[in-house]
Assembly symmetry: C2
Homo-oligomer: 303 residues x 2
Amino acid sequence: MSDILVVGSVAYDTIATPEERKEDLLGGSANYFSLTASLYSKVKVVGVVGDDYRPQDIAILEKRNVDLRGLQKVSGRTFHWEGKYEKDMNEAITLDTQLNVFENFDPQLPEEYKTSKYVFLANIDPDLQHKVLDQIESPKLVGVDTMNFWINSKLDSLRKILKRVDVLLINEGECRELAKTWNTVNAVKHLSEMGPRAVIVKRGEYGFLMYSEGQYFVLPAFPVSKVVDPTGAGDTFAGGFFGYLSKINGNWNLNHVKHACIHGCLLASFTVEDFGLKALQKVDWPEVEARQSDYFKIISYLD
Amino acid sequence: MSDILVVGSVAYDTIATPEERKEDLLGGSANYFSLTASLYSKVKVVGVVGDDYRPQDIAILEKRNVDLRGLQKVSGRTFHWEGKYEKDMNEAITLDTQLNVFENFDPQLPEEYKTSKYVFLANIDPDLQHKVLDQIESPKLVGVDTMNFWINSKLDSLRKILKRVDVLLINEGECRELAKTWNTVNAVKHLSEMGPRAVIVKRGEYGFLMYSEGQYFVLPAFPVSKVVDPTGAGDTFAGGFFGYLSKINGNWNLNHVKHACIHGCLLASFTVEDFGLKALQKVDWPEVEARQSDYFKIISYLD
């Protein structure tokens, strides 16, 4: 087991689905990631919150023993995102983004963070991703996520990040956009040529596709019969993925990386079952194991 | 091994993709199905063509030993469909449908067809599906496909068909429409309550989801790096599915049905690699086996 460092957003989200609307839900990529990865290993968070950040939201992570020394508290309001989902629940439509304290975020790592071996750079400005990576001495596994906004506005910086990371975790739409090709199977090859040893495409309700060492690995998602709120599923995937590999922390091979993808997928299936972090908060290890066992039955074609 | 009867359209298609446009390609559900299923078993076709139907298109099926005594030849033009695909290649946009000789199609089965044990009712008017089924003595496995047009115009007849079949094979969008729910995992349960012992949802590039005997079985599609034309992939799936089960023709269990889904999926991955029936025409058994072996590697998470 080895510590995992994550840098990302810590946010309050307002989310509308066809059935309900919820205001000021705890959210943000760093929260989804760390609440998940902390089921496996010790997690260290780098992020920023405003003075409106609720003490009980700190407590949620503390309960999972997450290290929050790298969570800066500054004057102003916490990052706020508002989005809605339509019937098919596949894609969020952003209604409002208020960067607030996130606008001037300057990630400074506490000394104890700089020796982190597992590093996840969630979807933030690639310039900040570089800044975080510059402060880390000799990471063992670095993963990165990104989104269309950075593909369009900071492509050069993003391309440079891809040369510095081991794993790219990306949504299917953004994978196609970054690779400039509509075929995902083809797109991941292009992206892997840009640097990462493994490219993992998150396909929402359809699971994931990984490309690494010239091989594809594709599996479906766990079938969820009531998707309440898909927000954070991608960061949860990353949390399960990093959690699994950091827990092994040996010389893992491609097979371990495959199992890490499966764990990402399984943990994400909890997240979508309730609003925000609610479902994830309640998940414990026996539930993860039970879902894994159900999942293996669902994809099994052997007698 | 047991004979398979298919009733469906035999057509000429005009298809435009972002890269190319092809006129008067051989198509139709019965052709895709029988060209596939004939790799496994003897196939009998029930359908209708006009006097413009080209002898070389008959020869394609004859080469695979398909029984065409049930293919009526009448005066007039063959059914013609025109469609286009946009960048994501996921959904066909119908530009023109000319029923022609298909408009007055009255399926009459040759005597030798009436003892068929395996019956696939491709996507045609549910009234005609009933008419075919009425003529068959004691089928062992009946499958049906349908589409939004019949869901909207002949729902009663379609519901009655569902009570007479063992397997429903349906596109994801149409599954949701017929079940009146947006969640596919939930929708298949509703549909299975309407009659079929197994409901198989075809998800295009994402594979399939089956629900049977209270269990889900979900797997991804074979990753295809160049999708040329997805037309007919669903009927190819049905052909591989029926082909596999008819070849066993024993008391197959759920595990055989799972393998039949996998074969459907694998065969469909050939179809999309070229326009119309071109790729499927060239496929032979060793290629199917090679693809199956590749597929099992791609979805394998075991050492």
